[in-house]
């Protein structure tokens, strides 16, 4: 039976692949998507999510978010919660770019304030925040300092003058995952990461200047509480742990492949799903190394925020406090987290793998900073560089249904190679300029690969998560300036 014949439609926004679809499935797979997004998903996504459903210790369902597309082993946009005592940890369920994530920053400026200086603003950011291939970070670290960054994450940055105390509570995990042990990190990984703190990266990593339009505010009360107003300029960026996280993923994939079957008797359907029991030495070492990469990534986004504040002080001749450069929030969308949920009437500790998925906790949850606790957790969804992005809030329904998870972005629909054939970077830059978006890039070929048409519609993705009740819309941002690595 083909997978499409096996899929059952549960509701307008939910599809299910039953447990008997594939041998070894321990739970059914569930796909959150409207009809259009579901039909546009590649079949590989369904094969991958049903492979995930065979992993030891998986709870309730293996989930796909509406922006799901096929990845290595796990689909991107995949969520799997593993029993903390009996389950496994899998680097493929977290992604190579550990703690790739989004950060959103407010300003007190309006588009009219920024417009006359937009080019200077973007050009200065571009020259001050290294991006692209072979860029080295603006924070120079010794090996022992880098180990402190692995342990302390954003806290290291604040202690060394790269940011404000308030930035910490507005970062998932306060920017510092506990239990990060640099001894679990290989020498090669440390060497790759050493000169990358304070770099944006390349590919789909970017920094964007955005504008709030009155008609794009969907929840006025929440927007006001968060500090959002019509015509406001905001800054959003997307980056991760760079080569450091990738090397950790690569190292542990090999370690797990060597011990998984021989030592733990675990059989998997795809080498990229390599895993180890959470409670094993190898599993604990990977989790600890993953936290080092997560902390490096929080620190990377933190030092970049510091740079943005410096650049804006220079370009707009006011200090950062007067410019209102407060963070809204920082979310991780490639990560595994220990969380507690009620499963079949019992409270249970699980390790939630989110790969290309964002945590989406509803109001009241203790992990949410006090400033937002009544509202629900801010969820930052980045679109393609041409189309816009969203701020959403988490919901109780997400906690009940998807282990507090929602979408992370738009998800590609076209390969990089195809996008490069169809679009020309220089032409795209001119076209975007005419539409009022000033883009600065290191690589025109890289720019072409990121054309808006290569991605799913962000509006469709957000509509689907809202329809499903996994998060609710607050505001949509439109891009006016963009830096691409």
């Amino acid at each position: 039976l083909g997978v499409l014949e096996a899929v059952k439609r549960i509701s307008d926004y939910l599809w299910e692949i039953p447990i008997n679809y594939k041998k070894g499935m321990k739970v059914p797979a569930r796909i959150y998507a409207n009809n259009k997004l579901f039909r546009s998903m590649d079949v590989q996504v369904f094969e991958q999510i049903t492979n995930v459903a065979t992993l030891p210790g998986i709870q309730k369902y293996a989930f796909c978010m509406p922006d799901a597309h096929s990845g290595y082993g796990f689909p991107i946009g995949g969520v799997a919660a593993m029993d903390f005592e009996q389950g496994v940890i899998s680097p493929g369920g977290i992604g190579f770019d550990i703690n790739c994530g989004m950060r959103l920053v407010l300003t007190s400026l309006t588009y009219n304030d920024v417009k006359p200086k937009l080019k200077e603003f973007v050009d200065t950011l571009f020259s001050r925040i290294p991006s692209g291939v072979g860029a080295t970070g603006f924070v120079r670290l010794s090996r022992s300092e880098f180990e402190e960054v692995m342990k302390l994450g954003s806290r290291w940055c604040i202690e060394h003058g790269y940011g404000w105390e308030e930035d910490l509570e507005r970062t998932e995990e306060n920017g510092e995952m506990e239990g990060a042990n640099p001894r679990a990190v290989s020498d090669r990984a440390a060497q790759r990461g050493l000169n990358q703190l304070g770099t944006l990266g390349s590919g789909n990593h970017y920094l964007e200047i955005q504008v709030v339009k009155k008609e794009n505010i969907y929840d006025e009360e929440a927007a006001k509480k968060i500090g959002i107003f019509p015509e406001q300029v905001t800054i959003m960026y997307h980056t991760g742990s760079r080569g450091f996280g990738h090397q950790i993923g690569t190292d542990y994939l090999q370690i797990f492949l060597n011990v998984m079957e021989r030592k733990y008797g675990i059989k998997i359907l795809d080498r990229e799903l390599a895993c180890a029991p959470i409670n094993s030495t190898e599993g604990q070492n990977y989790f600890s190394a993953m936290k080092c990469a997560a902390n490096m990534s929080f620190a990377n986004r933190q030092v970049i925020l510091h740079r943005i504040r410096e650049v804006m002080e220079k370009v707009f001749h006011q200090d950062a406090e007067k410019l209102g450069l407060h963070m809204i929030y920082d979310v991780a969308h490639n990560i595994a987290k220990v969380e507690r949920y009620v499963i079949d009437g019992e409270e249970k500790t699980v390790l939630v793998h989110r790969k290309g998925a964002t945590r989406s906790f509803g109001p009241g949850r203790k992990e949410i900073p006090l400033v937002y606790r009544e509202l629900g957790q801010p969820v930052i969804i980045g679109g393609s560089m041409e189309t816009g992005s969203y701020l959403l809030l988490g919901t109780k329904k997400a906690e009940i249904e998807t282990f507090g998870s929602t979408a992370h972005g738009s998800g590609r629909t076209m390969s990089r190679a195809k996008a490069k054939k169809l679009f020309r970077g220089e032409r795209l830059q001119r076209d975007m300029m005419q539409r009022g978006i000033y883009v600065k890039t290191v690589s025109f070929a890289g720019l072409a690969e990121e054309a808006g048409a290569a991605y799913k519609s962000i509006d469709d993705v957000v509509q689907a998560v809202e329809l499903a009740g996994l998060s609710k819309k607050v505001v949509r941002f439109i891009p006016v300036g963009n830096i691409k690595g």
Binding site: G71, Y72, G73, I76, G95, F96, D97, C100, G132, V133, G134, T136, R188, Q191, R192, L194, N195, Q196, G201, S202, G203, N204, R242, G243, H246, Q247, G249, T250, L253, L257, R271, E272, A274, N334, G356, R412, R416, A417, V442, S443, F444, A445, G446, E449, G485
Partner: protein
Amino acid sequence: MADVAFEVEANSLNELFELAGLAMMNILVEDLSEIELLTKKSISISADSIEMLLYNFLQELIFIKDTEMLVFRNFNVKVDKKDDKYHLTSEAEGEEIKPSKHKMVVDPKAVTMHKFEVKRENGKWLARVVVDV
């Protein structure tokens, strides 16, 4: 997250590794002829299988790119087998990345096991590699 895939067909094992190395460089740099032969770097790798030898070799190129900022145009690869292990030496020639000189495309960050394959067919060596960028 996104990826770039390439396939290599070669008449010998040495050539397979050299072409795969060039394919990796081509993910980074649009026009390989822009890479001048200014620096030499000796690379030495061992593995239990030819497949893992290629995987480790490509991973090493990413590592050298991140730590020494070097890209190459010549690899001069020699692969041999000793005591059930495969060994590779490469006298790679190239230079440091200069964004003002080289048109850079995208940053390869990891070789993946996704559809990764090395095989011999009708006297030719074939490899398929998916690289995370």
